[in-house]
């Protein structure tokens, strides 16, 4: 059983996508939730925090389920950027 360098590189790329990309994805979606959910700010922040780890797990699954490593990266980055942008537009909630 020989494994090509190309295959190994693709796996490595997915691992990085899962660990780092997944973390960025989870954080940015959680931040969007914490700013967008119409609850007192402490409750929406906690909602984001509680869901953050579920989101992270989903992102890891996605990173290894996507057909190609590029898609794994692409999907995570696009959603992260979109959520981050919307969260930035909403701005920090006032107490």
């Amino acid at each position: 059983m020989t494994v090509s360098a190309r295959y190994r590189l693709a796996v490595l790329s997915r691992i990085v996508a899962a660990v780092l990309g997944g973390y960025v994805f989870a954080t940015s979606v959680a931040i969007l939730l914490s700013r967008a959910i119409p609850l007192p700010r402490a409750e929406s922040a906690l909602t984001g925090q509680l869901l953050g780890f579920v989101l992270y797990a989903c992102a890891v699954v996605w990173a290894f389920a996507a057909k190609r490593a590029q898609w794994a990266w692409g999907g995570l980055l696009i959603v992260s950027l979109a959520c981050g942008a919307v969260a930035w537009l909403i701005g920090m909630p006032v107490p």
Binding site: E43, A45, L46, L50, G52, F53, F64, A65, A87
Partner: protein, 521 residues
């Protein structure tokens, strides 16, 4: 397409498990044991009276305050832990000092200093010898691996319901897989709850930016977040003027309007002797969300300032319930036993997963006619973890009985003994022939656990002969548990020995399929 998905999830499941299996095994085993931390505390201090005397809450508080006024009149905060159902005694804490008091006379008692169940409890999330922050991150990363492993484990399952009832012993790799599946599925809600809530405990450390996005990163922002969440008033500062503390009788009368004052579990007194003194009373939880039922009083006027309620917001309640479920402080003896059992199943699930990986790799190499040093290292590491860690924990209990009671830093030496024993097992697993290490370490474990009650009988007056006759079930149960664990290890060792003999006769290589039963028993 569907098969490809399942395959990649299977890969993910295997590797998330293999990479951090040993650390997860450590976390699960020490965490599981610490569901009986109070009982272990008592076992490790055999000088304590057999039947713990308990005064009323009012008397206990008076004794504790008298002692605190004498030894720490100027401390910023006093903490009093009241005697409770699981045999914990009266104790006080101020600054960095902790003292156990006699529940009747209020004088400090001199039991041997010990790590107790508390040290095992701390280890399961702080490890040991490491800076808390670093340990916290290591545990968090491993917990996240565990979480992903659980999720993918469910995904790759084709027939969750049928596997619940499937166990085919004595069939090599198949038995291992059955055991792994059954252990995983039976306690799956527990595994998911304990892993997820474990992450949430330190959510603020692991994902700090979520809170920061709403509160900024300035000083005190985290405090503001929790104050708002729990409807707490911001902390008062000391006034700088002296004023006498209100007698507890009047405060307990007000407590009675909310719950039975005899249920009080701990009392925290902030700024004692100051005009802004605050008294916080906490109740022993009777349900998962109950750990936050606290009452805050003005320590001078005795006025009730705040009554914390268990449910405020849905999301706040979710957090409280997750924490309450993880700690299990609300659980009575039966539920506590179930917690212990579920934890053991989680530990065994991790162990079977680790063994399965090494076996499959071995089989792959055998059929390809190759050898791999990597698999060998993992196999040795598996033995040193699955059999070696229980040996190390046994060494911890042995050290408690052997180290002289008066030795300096003896509590630390108990813990050192644990890690020294573990290091020795790691060494043993690497220098002995690979075919013999399981048998040898299982035998060591059996001997150590079976002899613990004997050692206890020779060194203390709290052995089975006394505890069974006196009906002191909590202490007796610990000795009996040692015997049961010892017998389980002995049984496994015998089975491994037989398998080795028959394999030797048949001239084939060792097939260690007999371990399947061990980890399920």
């Amino acid at each position: 397409m569907k098969d490809a998905f399942r395959q990649s999830m299977s890969w993910l499941h295997t590797w998330t498990g293999v990479v951090v299996g040993a650390v997860l095994f450590f976390i699960f085993l020490t965490g599981t044991i610490s569901y009986f931390d109070a009982e272990i505390d008592r076992w490790m201090q055999p000088e304590r009276p057999l039947h713990a005397a308990r005064g009323s809450v009012e008397d206990s508080l008076a004794l504790a305050v008298r002692r605190l006024e004498k030894v720490a009149p100027h401390a910023g905060e006093w903490e009093i832990e009241l005697p409770a159902a699981r045999g914990t005694g009266l104790s006080i804490a101020y600054e960095d000092t902790e003292e156990q008091l006699d529940a009747i006379t209020g004088e400090p008692v001199h039991y041997r200093s010990t790590g107790g169940g508390e040290a095992l409890y701390r280890m399961h999330y702080q490890l040991h010898y490491l800076a808390p922050r670093i340990a916290c991150w290591i545990v968090g990363i491993c917990a996240m691996f565990m979480f992903v492993s659980l999720v993918t484990g469910v995904i790759i399952h084709k027939r969750i319901f049928r596997d619940f009832f499937t166990f085919r012993p004595g069939k090599g790799q198949r038995s291992w897989l059955d055991a792994h599946n059954t252990l995983g599925i039976i306690a799956l809600p527990f595994h998911l709850m304990i892993t997820y809530s474990g992450l949430i405990f330190f959510a603020q450390t692991y994902m700090p930016l979520v809170m920061t996005a709403s509160y900024g990163s300035g000083e005190g922002s985290q405090q503001t977040f929790f104050d708002e969440l729990y409807g707490r008033q911001p902390r008062t500062l000391p006034a700088g003027e002296t004023a006498p503390l209100r007698p507890f009788r009047q405060i307990l009368e007000q407590v009675a309007l909310h719950w039975n004052p005899q249920d009080a579990r701990y009392v925290r007194i902030q700024y004692p002797g100051d005009a802004n003194a605050r008294i916080l009373l906490g109740r022993a939880p009777t349900e998962p969300s109950g750990s936050v039922e606290r009452l805050l009083f003005d320590g001078v006027s005795g006025q009730l300032l705040m009554a914390e309620q268990p449910t405020r917001s849905a999301v706040g309640a979710t957090r409280d319930v997750l924490f309450g479920l993880h700690r299990g402080n609300f659980a009575g003896p039966v539920l506590r036993g179930l917690y212990f059992l579920s934890g053991l199943m989680g530990t065994a699930m991790i162990a079977t997963g680790m063994v399965m990986w090494a076996r499959r790799r071995n089989a792959d190499h055998a059929s390809a006619g190759t050898t791999s040093t990597g698999v060998g290292v993992v196999e040795r590491l598996n033995v040193a973890t699955i059999a070696g860690l229980p040996i190390a924990i046994a060494a911890y209990f042995w050290a408690n009985r052997i180290i002289p009671a008066a030795l300096d830093a003896r509590a630390q030496w108990e813990i050192n003994s644990l890690f020294i024993a573990w290091a020795l097992m790691l060494l043993h697993a690497h220098v002995r022939p690979r075919s013999r290490i399981w048998l040898e370490q299982l035998t060591i474990a059996a001997v150590l656990y079976l002899l613990l009650p004997v050692l206890n009988a020779f060194t203390t007056q709290r052995h089975l002969g006394v505890t069974l006759l006196e009906g002191e079930w909590a202490l007796a149960a610990i000795d009996l548990m040692f015997l049961a664990v010892g017998l389980a290890f002995a049984g496994t060792a015998i089975k491994v020995h037989r398998t080795m003999q028959s394999a030797g006769r048949a001239g084939t290589t060792l097939d260690d399929s007999s371990f399947a039963e061990v980890r399920t028993s």
